[in-house]
């Protein structure tokens, strides 16, 4: 967008108050203080709208989790396990109180395992339906890709209510896992979710978050490399309307050498309103390159397209580099108004204004949609973007 200034540079990103390396983590909610909302990690979040997830709200309902695995393939196991299952928690430890609350509160977890050397072409769809309006639920999901397994997993969140969960991705050596997590909640829903990925040697995780609906949605995807040669893509696409708060906090932890990470989050915001009634999105992108992580290659980008006045997009890249021996590190962040010159150009070729606007917005998301290699998922997202644009008659 021409209204925005691109600031790509290889250093000089804001360093967070406390190094990401020193963040406190615990599975136990009691180990965290109740946040006031002034803490760095909560400062953008409307705490009043969290329905007590951060103050110890007890479960008053349950979300339903349905796994639809392609029938023609063997090698996919779906289990419902109890809290004590030793595999749980393998991908990461909660780093904030709500994630710890979810970890301390879920009663049963779903574990989906893709057996070693299995290639599953058809997506595995996991549908998570909220507990219903006014109800609070906690959940836990773990997806395991064994050695050299390849699979696509779509996690589809829908329905009403308040839901906090941890989602784990455990990638063994050489695994290739594509994840698309769609948050297409009803207007009342509150969803606070921590995704934890642990990526084995030479494994590849392509993780895409798509947030389209809900009152407050806050997703914190963390990717940690367990061994060399691995790659992660963290992609995100969000479309916020008036009154919606969508927050995405990505963290890539480079602790081992020769890994690659690429973060691309793009959002569109629309709808009139002020304060809590405006559309608000937040992207915080932390990347930590620890001293041992030589040969790291990382890039992160966030772009926001403001379709109407009043919408607010916060964009905070944090890049911490503890070694000089990296292959490359950079970030770019830009938030811009809709580009009137593009609109004029398209209209000057006879294309009516509403159609021209849609072309530009679709174009804005195009690069991200192309990264989603599953046609049915991509088509569904295209249709969803179309529907978002229809909704305001843009």
């Amino acid at each position: 967008m021409t209204a925005a200034v691109d600031k790509p540079h290889s250093h000089g990103a804001v360093v967070p108050e406390a190094s990401r390396a020193e963040w406190f983590t615990s599975y136990d909610v009691a180990a965290f203080e109740v946040p006031s909302g002034r803490e760095e990690i909560w400062r953008f979040t409307p705490m009043k709208r969290l329905a007590g997830l951060h103050t110890g709200a007890e479960a008053s309902g349950a979300a339903s989790v349905e796994v639809d695995a392609p029938t023609e393939t063997t090698g996919i196991t779906v289990e419902t396990v109890q809290r004590g299952d030793s595999r749980l928690g393998a991908a990461g430890v909660p780093a904030d109180r709500v994630a710890a609350q979810a970890y301390s509160s879920f009663t049963a977890a779903t574990v989906v395992t893709v057996a070693k050397e299995t290639q599953v072409a058809t997506p595995v769809t996991i549908t998570v339906t909220g507990p219903g309006a006014g109800k609070v639920a906690y959940g836990h999901l773990q997806v395991r890709a064994e050695r050299f397994a390849e699979a696509v997993v779509v996690i589809d969140h829908r329905g009403s209510g308040v839901y906090a969960d941890n989602v784990e991705f455990v990638l063994a050596d050489g695994a290739k896992l594509t994840v698309v997590s769609i948050q297409d909640w009803a207007d009342d829903a509150v969803h606070v979710s921590a995704h934890h990925a642990r990526i084995g040697r030479d494994a590849v995780l392509r993780h895409t978050v798509v947030t389209l609906g809900g009152d407050v949605v806050r997703i914190s995807p963390t990717a940690a490399f367990a061994d060399k040669g691995a790659e992660v893509e963290l992609n995100g696409l969000y479309f916020a309307d008036a009154g919606q708060h969508f927050e995405h906090r990505t963290f890539v932890d480079h602790a081992v050498p020769n890994c690659t990470s690429n973060v691309v989050y793009k959002g569109a915001l629309q709808g009139d309103g002020e304060g809590d009634t405006a559309a608000h999105t937040v992207w915080v992108g932390d990347v930590l390159i620890r001293a041992a992580a030589e040969g790291t290659q990382t890039y992160e980008l966030n772009r926001n397209l403001l379709l109407t006045d009043g919408a607010r997009a916060d964009s905070v890249p944090n890049l911490e580099i503890e070694t000089g021996e990296i292959a490359g590190a950079g970030h770019a962040s830009a938030t811009g108004r809709f580009d009137d010159e593009q609109l004029f150009y398209l209209q000057a070729r006879g294309i009516p204004e509403d159609q021209a606007r849609r072309l530009v917005v679709r174009g804005f998301f195009h690069e991200l949609l192309m990264k989603i290699q599953v046609p049915e998922v991509r088509e569904r997202l295209e249709a969803a973007i179309e529907a978002e644009l229809e909704a305001v008659g843009a």
Binding site: G350, I351, P352, E353, Q355, V360, G363, E367
Partner: protein, 256 residues
């Protein structure tokens, strides 16, 4: 027969010091079958004239009229003007990331023609036009103007001219920044468009060299936001020899 009639057109732009009048009463009539060249020094308001006729929101019309076949152009939205038969080849074509050239061309053709062109004939039509303009077919899948060189952008403006086939085409410095080869290709494209005799061309240029490929029926000298002299193609020769000094008081070459 199509006629674009511009009468006493006055146009302002908003500046930090308030509105600034740039066009100070432009009178011009372009009929189908005619080619008019507008020549003038930099900053004389040539692009302002073309943008104002196309309806760019930055330019405020403060007086005068513009009609196409008697219809009030100034009342129309930008896209309505294009669908009514006006076309502006821009001096600086705009990049639209993520929108493929082929999608853009088809969407524009559908809008201007009032129905989606039949896929088979359309593909052929686009291919042929691209070939005539020596555009690599791979451009069809690239984002509109994104990363195109100056010459590639101009070729694509003429590609759009060919496919949208307007009644009146305004070409704003389409020749600027082109090498000899590209100038030939682009000029041939404009000549093919002219050949039907059913369209009018308003060719805006700073230099005379494109007029060696495209002979205008009328030449107008533009200075200080107005047409200050009109004549036949011989006026271009005079400008080539003498420059704009006579009209601006300052030496500025019109040759080459």
């Amino acid at each position: 027969m199509a006629t674009l009639e511009i009468k006493d057109l006055r146009v302002s732009v908003a500046t930090d010091d308030g509105p600034k009048e740039i066009l100070k009463g432009v009178d011009l009539t372009v009929r189908a079958g005619e080619t008019h060249a507008i020549m003038g020094p930099n900053g004389s308001g040539k692009s302002t004239l073309s943008y104002a006729v196309a309806g760019h929101p930055k330019y405020e019309v403060t007086g005068g009229t513009v009609t196409l076949d008697g219809e009030d152009v100034l009342e129309m939205s930008v896209d309505e003007r294009a669908r009514a038969g006006l076309f502006l080849a821009m001096q600086y074509p705009v990049e639209v990331p993520g929108v493929s050239m082929s999608n853009f061309l088809r969407t524009a053709a559908t809008a201007v023609r009032g129905e989606a062109p039949k896929l088979r004939t359309w593909v052929k039509e686009v291919k042929e036009s691209m070939k005539e303009l020596e555009i690599d077919p791979a451009f069809a899948e690239r984002s509109v103007n994104e990363g195109f060189s100056g010459g590639e952008k101009k070729r694509h403006e003429i590609l759009q001219l060919a496919l949208l086939n307007p009644k009146i085409a305004i070409l704003d410095e389409t020749d600027s920044g082109l090498d000899v080869d590209a100038l030939r290709v682009v000029s041939e494209g404009v000549s093919r468009f002219r050949a039907s005799g059913e369209s009018g061309v308003l060719l805006i240029t700073h230099y005379t060299r494109i007029l060696r490929h495209i002979t205008p029926d009328f030449v107008h000298v533009f200075a200080g936001g107005r047409i200050v002299e009109s004549g036949g193609s011989e006026l271009a020769d005079q400008l080539e020899a003498e420059g704009y000094v006579k009209y601006t008081g300052a030496a500025e070459a019109a040759g080459v």
